[in-house]
């Protein structure tokens, strides 16, 4: 791969550390694995956390709830049709040969597939290492790896990775890209954060603002409940890319941040109570009426033709931008 890559130190030009100590943990563990040319799975506990699959010290796949994997990207973007995917999958997935099957059926070029896998991996690493990290450890070392490091993970007995990147990606390269992205976000004003900021399309937006097709799609999905991460899973685009795009749309007044997720560490069994309901006096007035069964015959109704935000909740949220910060974060736009 790229001979010019360098390890980044994780600090922005201002000298302020951009990456958190959680990121440092991931970096340290992966650097160790890279040196030792480990095979196995690194489990990252946190939010979103995830599993980093290694072969010969390099990353072949990352599974995380925080970013769509290559399979979701290929299918949701429409690059590969579901029927064609299903046929290739049936033939090859169980043997860990899906990539070869997709290319031999002419569904995607080998070089393009490799590019898609690299991009998806970078996005997943950004979501995992750039998110909240509690613990990070190499969990499972294969009893024996394949000689050339090209075989699918599975030589240790765990399930084969669906679309392993071959040759594996250097963790140093992936983490350098994560740091680059964190630095960009740190200096981005009015940032729409990928994992926590929920956006609503502004119904008042200037009528003569031309939207690209990509922006139209996002505006349609912006129902006050979805974050950039959620939209990534729907559209097959990356969480970082959508964070940037929604930020541009936010600045242009096309969408607005109407609520945010509070990012907390995962449940450890000692936290029994959900936090007290946020005080929303406006909510009582505009809460939808208590639901009634309107169709006693229980026939499923056809789905809505397009996704429309529930008018009452979207409206009252537009009126309540930036509720009091319960997670101690600064105002959006002043940092990650």
């Amino acid at each position: 791969m790229n001979a010019a890559r360098r390890e980044r130190s994780g600090t922005a030009r201002t000298g302020q550390p951009v990456a958190s100590t959680g990121y440092e943990t991931v970096r340290r563990v992966l650097a160790d694995c890279e040196t030792k040319r480990s095979f196995g799975v690194v489990r990252v506990t946190g939010e979103p956390g995830g599993l980093i699959y290694l072969a010969d010290g390099g990353v072949i796949a990352i599974e995380t709830a925080g970013a769509p994997g290559a399979d979701v990207v290929l299918l949701r973007s429409g690059r590969i049709r579901e029927s064609e995917w299903t046929a290739a999958y049936a033939e090859a997935a169980a043997h860990g040969q899906l990539a070869a099957e997709l290319t031999s059926r002419g569904l995607i070029g080998a070089a393009e597939l490799e590019a898609v896998l690299r991009v998806a991996l970078a996005d997943a690493m950004f979501a995992v290492a750039g998110g909240l990290v509690e613990e990070c450890a190499l969990e499972q070392v294969a009893a024996h790896g394949s000689e050339d490091g090209q075989g699918p993970a599975g030589t240790g007995g765990e399930a084969p990775v669906l679309l392993p990147l071959s040759p594996p990606a250097s963790p140093t390269w992936l983490l350098a890209e994560t740091v680059r992205r964190l630095e960009v976000l740190a200096r981005t004003p009015e940032l729409v954060r990928h994992d926590r900021d929920r956006v609503t399309a502004d119904p008042e937006r200037p009528a003569n603002t031309p939207l690209s097709r990509a922006q139209e799609e996002l505006a349609g999905l912006a129902n006050g409940r979805r974050t950039a991460r959620d939209m990534a899973f729907v559209t097959g685009r990356g969480v970082y890319a959508l964070s940037l795009e929604l930020t541009r749309m936010n600045r242009a007044g096309l969408v607005a941040i109407t609520s945010r997720r509070a990012i907390r560490p995962p449940a450890d069994g000692t936290r029994k109570q959900a936090p007290a309901p946020k005080s929303q006096p406006a909510a009582e007035a505009s809460q939808p009426p208590l639901p009634r069964r309107s169709n006693p015959g229980r026939q499923p109704r056809p789905g809505p033709a397009e996704i429309a935000p529930p008018p009452s909740s979207a409206l009252h949220r537009l009126l309540k931008l930036f509720p009091a910060a319960t997670d101690g974060d600064a105002e959006a736009g002043t940092g990650s």
């Binding site: 790229n2 010019a4 690059r79 070029g109 690299r118 040759p167 680059r180 890319a241």
Partner: protein, 122 residues
Amino acid sequence: MSVLDESLREVLRIDGARAAVLIDAATGMIVASAGDLSAGLPQAAASMADEVRAVAGTHGLAFAAGAVEEIAALTEQRCHLLEVLDPGTGADLLLFVDVDRSLTNVALAGLQVRQLLPGLLG
């Protein structure tokens, strides 16, 4: 061996080519690269992605001129070509080629690069 890296090395066979870089337009990240790369390349790559967006916003949308296909920049020593792969589909990959002007010219370089594009990601 990486088929993607091999593919980029093919681009270096063009007269005067010094470097070839594949950039993801949506993120500005370098996906693959080959040749003699400068230290400032990661920053430049992200800027190039912004350039394409800016040009699309003005020339594309404002002039109803269709999707952006190529941007060429000429400096004293170099010719820089930025090719949009599969323009109009939103497929989001850019090929940047750094060409030495003393060895070729923008017309020839552009012709040779465009001939390579269809097979680049095959």
